[in-house]
């Protein structure tokens, strides 16, 4: 019964964790903007969220699969890769083979911060509605 109260928050919690993860990823890219040979990473957020919330069909393309005898069975709940991390393609070539596009990283960083804050507000909103629902009318 009690888990019904927090069930609504599970989705937002997963989203918040993934937003923080993406923030860390973009911070890594920005930190390595001047490192020769560094390859920028990016996260497919919607796919990562679908994997995290389990709404991606089991055995889908992103899941680990055993296609040959001798493959080790994946553990329950394991995913195909680390939360859908990919390598970002460079918009412009660089002499030192660094593929960080600072304009894009800054834009992603700003976008991700705003969406992180939005998710926080959604959580706060859900908490407020739950508290409102628990209050008796006389309490106002």
């Amino acid at each position: 019964m009690l888990n019904r109260l927090t069930q609504n928050l599970d989705f937002q919690t997963e989203a918040l964790t993934l937003r923080a993860e993406r923030q860390r990823l973009i911070a890594s890219n920005i930190a390595n903007a001047d490192t020769p040979g560094y390859v920028a990473r990016e996260m497919d957020f919607s796919q990562a969220l679908r994997e995290a919330t389990g709404s991606l069909a089991a055995g889908g393309a992103a899941r680990m699969q055993t296609t040959q005898t001798g493959h080790i069975q994946p553990m329950a709940g394991s995913l195909g890769g680390p939360v859908g991390l990919k390598y970002a393609a460079a918009a412009q070539t660089n002499l030192d083979r660094n593929s960080v596009d600072m304009d894009r990283e800054r834009a992603s960083f700003a976008e991700n911060s705003v969406k992180y804050e939005a998710t926080l507000r959604f959580i706060n909103g859900s908490v407020r509605s739950m508290l409102d629902a628990m209050k008796s009318p006389s309490q106002g």
Binding site: L16, T17, A20, E21, Q23, R24, I26, A27, S28, N29, I30, A31, N32, A33, D34, T35, P36, Y38, R41, G81, P82, L85, M102, R106, F109, S113, Y116, E117, L120, I123, N124, V127, R128, L131
Partner: protein, 149 residues
């Protein structure tokens, strides 16, 4: 809590960029240094940045030690190299340190290159500071989660 790692990542980058800025300062300060009687002259120095995976201990605990994509990628100065190009020679027989042909050897610092390096590293420094500021304000808002209701 991966948001805390942002401080490690950006902190390493800030420290590396400030080291680069230090090297630029040394180079610019020695732009007009002249070779002494031993013929040794200041050589321009360059930093070499290298990605350093910071989260290897944490990912090892989760059984993902071989998975570098999960680890946080910080940066560090792996090496400081000396530019080996010969210093520029100026004909000035009146100079006390001129060699027997009358040439004075100056350091091989290229001032334009150093200025470009300086601007680039100062911009990167600012970028990383801003990343830390954003992470800090997001974390503060996270700490207040559920309190404003």
């Amino acid at each position: 809590m991966s948001m805390f790692k942002v401080f490690d990542i950006s902190g390493s980058a800030v420290s590396a960029q400030s080291q680069r800025l230090n090297v630029v300062a040394s180079n610019l300060a020695n732009a007009d240094t002249v070779a002494g009687p031993d013929g040794q002259v200041y050589k321009a120095r360059n930093v070499v940045f290298k990605t350093v995976m910071m989260d290897t201990a944490g990912s090892a605990a989760r059984g993902e030690a071989d998975n570098p994509v999960l680890a946080s990628a910080g940066v560090r100065v792996s090496d400081v190299t000396e530019d080996q190009t010969p210093g520029r020679k100026v004909l000035n027989p009146a100079h006390p340190l001129a060699d027997k042909d009358g040439y004075v050897t100056y350091s091989n610092v290229n001032a334009v290159e150093e200025m470009v390096n300086m601007i680039s590293s100062s911009r990167s420094y600012q970028n990383n500071i801003e990343v830390m500021n954003t992470a800090k304000s997001l974390l503060q808002k996270t700490l207040q989660m559920g309190q404003g209701v």
